[in-house]
């Protein structure tokens, strides 16, 4: 057989060999890595020829000689906080910084820990949950993550365990053309409840390919927030896989503010009757920023509900993509699935692509989707100005209202307020004035 030249991954082969040579880990995990690396070589860097990457081309990224992560220091004072008690883990260039972590007392067998640490001390606990949430099998950066991940967070809540304080996971990168592959494993057993806030921060150019696997047992409730504020030069190619058992509830809030190219692929499998998920996404783009959300919600069982609400606000030559699939399998009767994508363009050079897709194989379902893209309503702007509000402030108010509608879905008040302030600051709007 003629080998298909793995043209683009060549530099990674020696890097991978070196990486695995130094690791002591169970054979199953080593095998997972090898399979994933092989898959990455086969898939290559995504190209526009692949449907899923038709609009977003990370091809040019392969020309950069990405370096394996190294240790670095960050100023603890610059790290975001949640203004209240929280269990916190901080990762610098993908590696847990124990000095910056704070995990309070947890009930029973609950665990919030560094995944790298847990793999060393309790590999038998990691093996059964690693790479078990299906989805995104053809995603090259998911494969890259599975091949190269070193550390990340491991959150496991046993049955009926409810953690009130948010679990705050902060990932910082320090640039230097590093490639970072953090992994997040979260397993909520039956009836467990948690609130998680993941924040991505950084300085300089880096390639971040985080992968989160969220497994929800029957009746579990998860509030999950992912706030991407990478450096303007950064590339963020993340993925989130969710598997939900019956009557579980997943509320995801994704906010994308930073990076020159930021894409998150989200795959949700509603794998038990009556599972519910709510997916909110907000992209703020300016200059030449490129933001992309690819979402697939798979209704596998009856009576599931899903709601996707994605918005983008684009200035300058910014670009956004929303590709949202609702797939309803044959047996998933009484599914209720909705999706909206709304995009606000602040400049004539900005572009939003919206691609809603439905695949419905069951006959007794409610599915709906809507999509709109447009400029600010000139009538609304005139109305505000006719009351004395200067044009720039009027526009900022309208943009804030559009985006804040999405942030208002966040129930974690300090985070919601911080994001609203951040949004206002970006719009040079004094929101305190009109309280």
């Amino acid at each position: 057989m003629t080998a298909v030249a793995p043209l683009f991954s060549d530099p990674y082969r020696p890097a991978f060999a070196e990486f695995v040579a130094n690791r002591r880990e169970p054979a199953t995990i080593a095998r997972l890595r090898q399979e994933a690396f092989d898959r990455f070589e086969t898939l290559g860097w995504s190209t526009r020829q692949q449907e899923a990457w038709r609009l977003t081309d990370p091809g040019p990224l392969q020309a950069i000689a990405w370096q394996p992560p190294t240790d670095a220091l960050v100023d603890a004072g610059t790290l975001p906080t949640l203004d209240g008690p929280a269990h916190r883990l901080v990762f610098v260039n993908g590696r847990c910084a124990p000095g910056l972590a704070w995990v309070g007392e947890l009930p029973g067998r609950a665990l919030i820990a560094s995944l790298g640490q847990a793999l060393t001390t309790h590999p038998e606990r990691i093996e059964p949950v690693l790479d078990r949430v299906p989805g995104l099998e053809q995603h090259p950066f998911v494969a890259l993550n599975t091949a190269f991940w070193e550390d990340g967070a491991f959150v496991r809540l046993p049955r009926e365990t409810v953690i009130e304080e948010p679990i705050h996971l902060v990932f910082c990168t320090t640039g230097g053309d590093m490639r970072i592959h953090p992994r997040l494993l979260l397993a909520l057993e039956e009836g467990a409840q948690a609130t998680v806030v993941v924040e991505y921060r950084g300085a300089g150019r880096a390639l971040n390919t985080p992968l989160a696997e969220l497994a929800l047992g029957a009746g579990a409730v998860l509030h999950y927030h992912s706030i991407q504020e990478e450096a303007p030069q950064a590339f963020h190619l993340g993925a989130i896989r969710v598997r939900q058992d019956r009557d579980s509830e997943a509320n995801l809030h994704l906010v994308s503010l930073g990076g020159q190219l930021a894409r998150t692929d989200l795959a949700v499998l509603l794998d038990g009757e009556g599972a519910r998920c709510s997916l909110n996404g907000l992209t703020l783009g300016r200059d030449q920023q490129y933001g992309d959300y690819h979402v697939r919600v798979e209704h596998a069982r009856p009576r599931g509900t899903s709601e996707q609400r994605f918005k983008s606000v684009l200035d300058g030559k910014a670009h956004s993509v929303f590709d949202g699939m609702i797939h309803v399998r044959t047996g998933a009767q009484k599914t209720d699935a909705r999706q909206t994508s709304r995009n606000l363009l602040l400049s004539k050079q900005a572009q939003a692509h919206s691609n809603p897709r439905l695949e419905i194989l069951a006959d007794d379902v409610k599915c709906g989707h809507g999509s709109s893209t447009g400029f600010l309503d000139p009538d609304a702007e005139f109305y505000l100005r006719a009351r004395g509000i200067p044009a720039a402030q009027a526009r900022a108010l309208l943009v804030h209202a559009f985006a804040n509608d999405n942030l208002n879905q966040i129930r974690l008040t300090p985070l919601r307020e911080r994001l609203a302030r951040l949004l206002a600051a970006r719009l040079a709007l004094d929101i305190a004035e009109g309280e």
Binding site: G388, P390, G434
Partner: protein
């Protein structure tokens, strides 16, 4: 306070106003009546500064200042108010927040500090009663999901809070039942004083039973065909606009 001289306005290259002359002194309430398409709303929008209206000739002065050179927000800060015929719904912007931003914009223009929170609250509550507005409307988004009557009441409420020196009421009566009409008219009447001028634009005489004008002007085909006292409104009610050799809507149809 408002002087309009030989005002000609085109919209999308069609001449809508063909030489309007109108002078309104402080304390006076003038009514402009006319059939559909006569140019009533165009006049209101030109005074407020909406885009898309091109003044080809003439001038509008407000207290001697050239109004046409000002941004819409500057006009508002100078004390001009337009009660919209179709108030815009603005989801996500709370009515109270909007109002406070407007009040503070005007104060900033005058070089005054932002309004004191307690003073503002008192003012808002006092003015709400004027138009019998429910407090829940303050927290709702501007005009979102408001009924026709609530929207018009909200316009008069905003006027009552902003206390302009001159207000243009653009078909404030349209879409109102008689009870709502009375509430709106009472609100306007309560604001009438020797310093404040009003220009009330309406198609129907009915509103003028409640807001009794000092002068009535009949606008037909972009020109003021006749001016007189309040009795002119009653005459129009009986005889219609046919007297002016114009069918209602002719100008609009001709334009289309």
């Amino acid at each position: 306070m408002l002087e309009i001289r030989n005002l000609h306005v085109t919209v999308e290259d069609r001449e809508i106003l063909k030489g309007i002359d109108l002078i309104i002194h402080p304390g006076e309430t003038h009514a402009i009546m006319g059939p559909n398409g006569s140019g009533k709303s165009t006049l209101a929008n030109v005074i407020a500064g909406r885009e898309g209206y091109v003044v080809t000739e003439g001038e509008v002065r407000f207290d001697g200042k050239n109004l046409l050179e000002m941004d819409p927000e500057t006009r508002a800060c100078e004390g001009l108010f337009l009660a919209f015929q179709y108030p815009v719904e603005i989801p996500g912007v709370a009515n109270l927040y909007f109002l406070k931003a407007a009040v503070n914009a005007v104060r900033k223009y005058r070089g005054e500090p932002p309004v004191d929170a307690m003073d503002f609250w008192d003012l808002v509550h006092e003015r709400m009663e004027l138009v019998k507005m429910d407090e829940s409307m303050l927290k709702r988004s501007v005009n979102e999901g408001f009924s026709g009557g609530e929207k018009k009441r909200n316009e008069v409420f905003q006027m009552a809070v902003l206390q302009p020196r001159f207000a243009v009421m653009d078909e404030t009566d349209s879409g109102l039942d008689i009870d709502a009409l009375k509430v709106v008219a009472d609100g306007v009447n309560a604001l009438r004083n020797p310093e404040r001028g009003f220009l009330v634009i309406t198609h129907y005489q009915r509103l003028l039973d409640y807001i009794v004008p000092d002068y009535v002007h009949v606008l037909v085909n972009g020109k003021i065909a006749r001016s007189g006292g309040k009795e002119l409104a009653l005459e129009l009610e009986e005889q219609g606009y046919a007297l002016y050799n114009e069918e209602p809507g002719r100008a609009r149809r001709a334009a289309a």
